[in-house]
């Protein structure tokens, strides 16, 4: 049996992340991949698919159900947690850190499935990074808008040029050991209290 013949099941309610993992596995030559993002009837579907390897995210509330299903089920080949090899603490930690867990059919050699876990870990990490960057970009955009509004306020109320308004904000921030966006926010709040509509 070549590695690519392994029947891999990815359970993830986050469709984008599931797609990223699926793509990674296909690129690595695994072609029997099923993705389940709908948790209804999960046990039945696993019994039908009879996977060799299951990859599931740690946030999935159905993990307890899944593990109990493996204990009692005669309907599927008997999967066990990937991390039964205690010597492999580093990979356990990397997986939990990344937020992913995997189960393999008992008897399957760990070497054969380790690449799958590695792939899942790196794709989970990549997804988190992507999410974080997205959040940061969104945050930066919000900050920029606040600073622009504060600049506009200073330009109108004190007759400053755009550069001078920004310099004033920056100087104040430095003097108070705060971020420019915090100064901008305080200024806007103060302005709206003193004169509702001043910022419009």
């Amino acid at each position: 049996m070549k590695p690519s013949r392994l029947n891999v099941l990815v359970i993830d309610e986050n469709r984008i992340r599931a797609a990223i993992i699926e793509e990674g596995l296909r690129d690595a030559g695994y072609d029997q991949i099923t993705v389940i993002d709908e948790m209804r009837g999960l046990a039945r579907r696993i019994a039908d698919l009879n996977p060799d390897v299951i990859v599931i995210d740690l946030e999935n509330p159905n993990r307890d159900m899944l593990e109990s299903f493996f204990q009692i089920s005669r309907a599927v080949k008997r999967p066990i947690a990937m991390f039964v090899d205690k010597s492999d603490e580093a990979s356990i930690e990397a997986a939990v850190e990344a937020g992913v867990s995997a189960y393999i059919v008992d008897g399957l050699k760990q070497e054969r499935v380790r690449p799958i876990l590695k792939m899942a870990i790196s794709r989970f990490n990549a997804f988190s990074r992507l999410n974080r960057e997205l959040e940061e970009t969104k945050g930066e955009l919000e900050n920029r808008k606040l600073i622009d509004r504060a600049k506009g306020l200073l330009m109108r109320s004190r007759g400053l040029s755009e550069d001078a308004a920004y310099a004033l904000l920056r100087r104040t921030a430095m003097n108070q050991n705060r971020k420019i966006v915090e100064i901008a926010q305080s200024l806007l709040t103060a302005a709206s209290l003193l004169d509702p509509g001043a910022d419009e």
Binding site: A43, L58, E59, N60, P61, N62, R63, D64, M65, L66, E67, S68, F69, Q71, I72, I80, A81, F83, V84, K86, E89, I92, E93, V96, E97, S101
Partner: protein, 404 residues
């Protein structure tokens, strides 16, 4: 300057996470110089995994689960110790309106009596031609699973052949019941109250009727962390004890329900949390019943980690073929619960402590003062069928249950 202890605890959004939540939110942790970080999870499997890799030092965990981890039944399993219980009781057996109807016709009474409801369920199964009844529990190594099975077996129902028991996440129980996927479930709060108030379910019986004064969640501690941080652990146990006293005060129940209802914790309406705290439970069809010991956070040595509790769970693991009975396994199970750590931590609080570390479960038929000071009362701690569990004679108990 006192040392500050940073402790990270995992928990599931359930009523009995109360002691941890209150320790943090009401300043009891702070008073012991403990900076307590609480991290919410969605499965016991993830709590276990994150304990294993030391993301969590301690966790709100199912009472039998640390024993299962130490017995190697669950991988990757951290070695764990249980130095404290997080209260007594808190569960119920909830059934669908249809099953309750059938049970009521077979003699079930709505006083939550375990014997009457068990006998009624037996008769329902006898008369039933449709498919096997299906009950949900939250985990194979849970007090829910063992008390449900104990109740069924003592009512003459074989839980492996005459009933199907499936595992579901607690928040899904009510919907699964309403959709007819299951006929009943044994779960913690607020999920029984949710089933009754929002999904037309009915309470059949409660944990406090099946096995009085029995533990549900405990503080599971990574053994390695515990060895390296005895002072931090002691400080946390004292904080949790103070929290248990606060939780037990009836005038705090409203505030506690609101606290737990918050978005970082159980994140469900306070009205679903209050019944269990007050011990006034909606049981179905608009009725309520008073169960004063439904959830006991402090009284009756509710936070004491009795070795007899650990050993009873162990006997049930053997009974339901999860593990083989050997002297070594028995030692591992009994050694998981650590009343010695509890005693050391509480010494400076001047708390009245039980002098024994194990007791015959079921021996106390009434509330009984114990110890020299008389400041502590225990029990009743009986099983509903009147049987006794003597932790000094486990082999006989197991043999009797296995019918050997």
């Amino acid at each position: 300057m006192t040392t500050r202890h940073h402790i990270t605890a995992g928990f599931l959004p359930l009523l009995d996470s109360a002691l941890l939540v209150v320790a943090r939110e009401k300043g009891f942790a702070e008073a012991q110089s403990v900076e307590l970080t609480l991290v919410r999870e969605r499965s016991w499997a993830t709590i276990r995994d994150r304990l294993a890799v030391s993301h969590f030092d301690v966790a709100h965990i199912l009472a039998p689960m640390p024993i299962a981890c130490n017995l190697g039944l669950s991988a990757p399993a951290p070695k764990m110790v249980v130095p404290m219980a997080l209260g007594l009781g808190g569960n119920a057996v909830t059934v669908s309106a249809a099953l309750w109807d059938a049970m009521a016709k077979c003699g079930a009474t709505d006083d939550l009596d375990a014997r009457a409801s068990g006998a009624a369920l037996r008769r329902v199964i006898d008369r039933r031609n449709e498919e096997t009844l299906r009950f949900g529990v939250v985990h194979p190594y849970s007090a829910h699973n063992y008390e449900l099975r104990y109740w069924l077996a003592a009512s003459g129902i074989d839980p492996d052949r005459e009933i199907e028991i499936v595992v579901l996440p607690p928040p899904d129980m009510g919907d699964a019941l309403a959709a007819g996927l299951i006929d009943g479930y044994c779960a913690g709060e607020p999920w029984n109250t949710f089933g009754v108030l929002k999904r037309s379910a009915h309470l059949a019986t409660v944990k406090a009727a099946i096995w009085k004064s029995s533990p549900e969640k405990v503080l599971g501690v990574n053994a390695r962390w515990s060895e390296g941080h005895p002072e931090a652990l002691h400080a946390l146990l004292r904080a949790l004890y103070s929290a248990s006293l606060w939780c037990a005060e009836p005038q705090n129940h409203g505030e506690l329900a609101n606290l737990l209802a918050g978005p970082s914790y159980v994140a469900r309406p306070a009205e679903l949390l209050l019944p269990a705290l007050r011990g006034v439970l909606p049981i179905g069809a608009g009725q309520t019943r008073v169960v004063t010991d439904f959830f006991v956070p402090n009284a009756k040595a509710a936070t004491f980690p009795w070795k007899s509790h650990a050993l009873w769970f162990y006997t049930q693991m053997v009974r339901w073929h999860q593990v083989e009975h050997t002297a070594e396994h028995q030692n591992i199970a009994g050694g998981t619960y650590r009343p010695d750590i509890y005693r050391n931590a509480m010494r400076s609080l001047g708390v009245a402590l039980p002098s024994a570390s194990a007791k015959v479960e079921g021996a106390l038929r009434t509330e009984t003062p114990v110890g020299s000071s008389g400041a502590l009362t225990l029990g009743p701690d009986g099983f509903f069928d009147g049987s006794l569990f003597d932790p000094d004679d486990i082999t006989t108990y197991i043999a009797a249950q296995l019918g050997q």
